[in-house]
Amino acid sequence: MSEPLLSVKNLKTYFYTYEGVVKALEGVNFKIDKNQIIGLVGETACGKSVTALSIMGLIQDPGKIIDGEIFFDGVNLLKNSKDEMRQIRGKKIAMIFQEPMTSINPMFTIGNQIAEIIMLHEKVGKKEAMGKALEMLKSVKMSDPEEVLKKYPHEMSGGMRQRAMIAMALSCHPQLLIADEPTTFLDVTVQAQILKLMKELAQEIGASVLMITHDMGVVAQMCDEVNVMYAGLVIESAKTREIFHNPKHPYTTGLMKAVPKIVKTNVKLDSIPGTVPNLITPPSGCRFHPRCSHVMDICKEAIPKAVEITPGHRVSCFLYSRRSDDV
């Protein structure tokens, strides 16, 4: 096995707000190998987006990364200066955001915005950059790319904007593409087009993708490996097939049963009782214990460590580990 492209170790990001310290990430661990599509799934406010922003070095006040390491291509990103991060962002690691309208500047044409990135990272003139921008728009299968180059974001539909975002993100051929809920705001027929496009392009330029989503369907169709997050922790990670057929953590199992299925006929949905906890005063011990049906005494006291139960399948749950391991 070669070095992973990205490895996140014990990442802790806190937000210091008036109401208290929001412990958004409480020691996140995962890795991404080259040419892989890795899923990061979880419900609202479990820390998916904070993880992405931490990798990008975009955590802003009152947020702070207080501990951990993020190794990208052998370099610890958290030790980089702001200038060094600026060199990496957009060039080596690019990001696609959830809502294309708020992440594209409404005052500039699409062509200008793509060209800006290319000019910043590759020493080329405006004309050449515009030519490259046109090529990018063609590669994302935009209909009528010459026209789109001159268009402002508000003149385009949601699907077209997301295509433009992808063109922008891939314009410098990044090694890692972070896609934060890229299709959540799109209709299913458009979503299918965008997902297919992302998969093809990532393969073409040899980029790895970190796919952040709450949709189990998107995960099943797109990802090679999956990391399931809950309340600021990765609680289970495994190959996609393994996660779907052999989920171990009670939260993952619950999540699988809570998704209405197209294929199976009416089985009553199993819901997980309660809601995601408040991260200012998270539950003691395992953060899932108040909602867990297998809760034991130990779960209320200690935080379970990740154990590898089969090669590549890691779970953080006391059902699979003993306390003696971590005390």
Partner: protein
Amino acid sequence: MSNNLLEAVDLVKYFPIRGGVLSRIQDHVRAVDNVSMYIKKGETVGLVGESGCGKTTFGRTMLRLIEPMAGEVNFEGVDITSLSPVEMRAMRRNMQIVFQDPVGALNPRMTIKNIIGEPLKIHGLAKGGELTERVIELMTSVGLKEEHLYRFPHEFSGGQRQRIGIARSIALNPSFLLLDEPTSALDVSVQAQILNLIQDLQKRLDLTYLFISHNLAVIKYVSDRIYVMYLGKIVESAESEELFKNPHHSYTKALLSAIPIPDPDLKMDDVYLQGEVPSAINPPKGCRFHPRCPNATDKCKTEEPELVDLGNEHYVLCHMI
């Protein structure tokens, strides 16, 4: 016919677009264009379609929250479009709505007791201690606790807020509920709780539902019969199982093939639909789906298709059947 609780016949709703110096009507958004639907007593009917297809407008026109331009809506045999405002108000006791956004639908300055109790007050059904008692009863029936009585909406999570919205909508013992994307704003684990609650209430209170959603998996889970809407038209309707097993309209097929299936062993079919939903201001001539339809012929470009009855309550709006 008598077992239909609610029936819409050729409903039409256009929204005018004004412009120019004199703000004259320049064009219309054809949000709902000759749509018919029937809902049998005790049934859950699903209405599915992509954003902007007119689902919500149609739902609200059914309740006369939006005045239809033409067509009629029969509720237990009474044409509600001809009722006077006073009569309509009394009629509303029987037909209620649950909204998509539980934040926007609840007044942030009102306590939960006042929110759920308001319909009872307006219709003069309860007051004082009786009102409080009834509100508590409604709250427990949707899984809220008595101690929540004097709290405000912002103190609740999304799922709980949706429970409040549901409690309010069943306060008047309606026979019909319009559920307009009730779970779209919720996480899956909470969505499952709300869907199960909705189904339990239906059995307990003998309710009839029109469930609007863009999520086919959710629609399939709750519905007995499903209507598929595209650009202001119903393109196909059938019993739930039948529609998923045996879709006839190309749009329904495309919609079904586009859903990412949460099972890595079942790969998605490759019938990707190209392009996006066109504008409802100038919808395509002939069949509205023809510019995106893989099987479109010349006839589809010029002639509007008629609804074809395939038997067994399966209807399709397509020339190719």
